[in-house]
Amino acid sequence: MTHDSTKFNLSPSDELDEFDPLADGADDEDADAADGLAAAPGSAEGALAHASDNGRPAPADERPAEERTADLLASMAPRRKVLLSILAHCFEPRPVAQVNALVDELQQNNFSVYSAANLCALLEKAGALERVTADGQPADDVESEPRVVVVDGVEYLEAGDPVEVCWLATDAGRAAVEADKPLERLRDLLDHDAAYLPIYKRILALCAAEGGAKTPDINAAVDNDLLVQKPRFYAPHFVDKLEKCDALAWQKAWVVTEVGRAGLEMLADVVDKPANGTKTPATADEKE
């Protein structure tokens, strides 16, 4: 064993030349101030650990995997698209490193405290993903043993070569992907918000331009329109709805997706004539 700690948390103190250990302790302010129980963590790892147990077997979630997966997608709405993309990518066994790279790419412009490993662990727990070998066998059934080596007559254990682990979507995972119909959600949205079709068309058209559209540009094009005055809505309200339908994506600017382009086609007949003429920023400032 060669490991040695080179980053000590204890270090020689220059201020201790006159220190009398027997006189210490009673007047240490920190000791009284810091009394308390061990603190709870706040990280994603903490959340995953807490989802488990208290040293006792956690009550098993006996709901079907489909239900647990739907629950996960609903409760992690901001990560829904990433979760579904993982599942869609894993219709065949995919090496873990490849899936991690995909998630990193998907979250490149959309930071999350949840890493690829966290998200996959949540999907696995929900029964939507499983760990398999490259040929599709459950990974837990294949265990690599440590190697025994003899050096100078002494027996040692060395880590064996691990089996390559892949992620594979389960039936529940596949069903979740197949049940996700963003175009239908967009159609429903446009039907429901028929009064705002010009607004939706305007936003989609702006974001369809090369390089997409920045938030201030979208705000300037929408916020002063008479259509959004009563009840008062602002551009992010509509952008958010379009994003939830996967019609827009943030890539350092809002850009339309394939679904968004289909949405623009649906809105081809809508006449987008700014009701009142969108006020210029200067006019808006004057109003303030």
Binding site: M1, T2, H3, D4, S5, F8, N9, L10, S11, P12, S13, E15, L16, F19, P21, L22, D24, G25, D28, A31, A34, G36, L37, A38, A39, A40, P41, S43, E45, G46, L48, A49, H50, S52, N54, G55, V96, N100, S115, A116, A117, C120, A121, R131, A139, S144, E145, P146, R147, V149, E155, Y156, L157, E158, A159, G160, D161, P162, V163, V165
Partner: protein, 250 residues
């Protein structure tokens, strides 16, 4: 009383003295080596308890050889479990281990019985609170040895990582003392190590490792519990033997 010596006996005695010196030198080399290994093991244990395992450490662990038959069943069981885990490490092992670290050492309950809290105060105070007498005592011992915690360390000084690191530092000082031929200092340091083990580490760590076995889900942290128990117990016996031998010689 002086003993009369013939030239032959002087020559023979001289050869024997040289052989004895050589043997002492070899023994001293072994003794120094042994203390270096003790320091390294304390260092490894301290690191494993201090914070979660990162990619770098995981790779380092995967490249290590673990003795298979040390003579301590607990140590052997610990190394086997750790080697077993490392043999099945995968791309997301660091996350799995981070989750297990939180589950094992931090927990989520408020009843003070929800994890293997790595603080001596928790196991030696009636209400299982942090920052109790044990912390004051170890802090005084660290300071008596000219040590204090670094500003970057935000936990109590009675965290097991610091107590193990204290033993590591003293073992390293023992090596330095032996290398410069200061045996009195070396044995004084070994005595401090033994006392610290008896009064602190070995007095409470077994209760914590017992909890670790309940809470940890990965073989790595389960193995760490066995390894800690086995190593502390072996080191305690080693220090007792060494110091008893030294007392006899004196």
């Amino acid at each position: 009383m002086a003993e009369a010596r013939t030239p032959e006996t002087v020559e023979a005695t001289g050869a024997a003295d040289k052989a004895a010196d050589a043997a002492d030198e070899a023994t001293m080399e072994d003794f120094i080596q042994l203390n270096k290994q003790r320091a390294a093991t304390y260092g490894l244990l301290s690191r494993l308890y201090r914070v979660e395992i990162d990619e770098e450490l995981l790779e380092e662990l995967r490249g290590m050889r673990f003795p298979a038959k040390t003579g301590s069943d607990e140590v052997d069981a610990g190394y086997r479990l750790i080697a077993q885990y490392l043999s099945n490490a995968w791309d997301n092992s660091v996350t799995d281990l981070a989750v297990d670290y939180v589950r094992t050492f931090i927990g989520h309950g408020v009843d003070a019985f929800s994890a293997a809290y790595p603080f001596e105060s928790v196991y030696t105070s009636e209400k299982r609170l942090l920052m109790q007498e044990a912390r004051d005592e170890v802090l005084a011992i660290y300071r008596a040895a000219g040590l204090d915690k670094q500003d970057s360390w935000k936990e109590g000084e009675d965290h097991i990582a610091l107590e193990l690191e204290f033993e590591q530092i003293l073992a390293n000082r023992t090596v330095e003392a032996l290398e410069r031929g200061d045996e009195d200092e070396a044995f004084s340091l070994l005595t401090t190590q033994k006392n610290f083990l008896d009064d602190h580490l070995a007095a409470w760590a077994p209760m914590m490792t017992s909890d670790m076995r309940r809470f940890a889900k990965t073989d790595l942290y389960r193995g760490l519990a066995h390894l800690t128990d086995g190593f502390l117990s072996t080191d305690r016996a080693f220090l007792a033997d060494v110091l008893a031998d030294n007392d006899e010689k004196r």
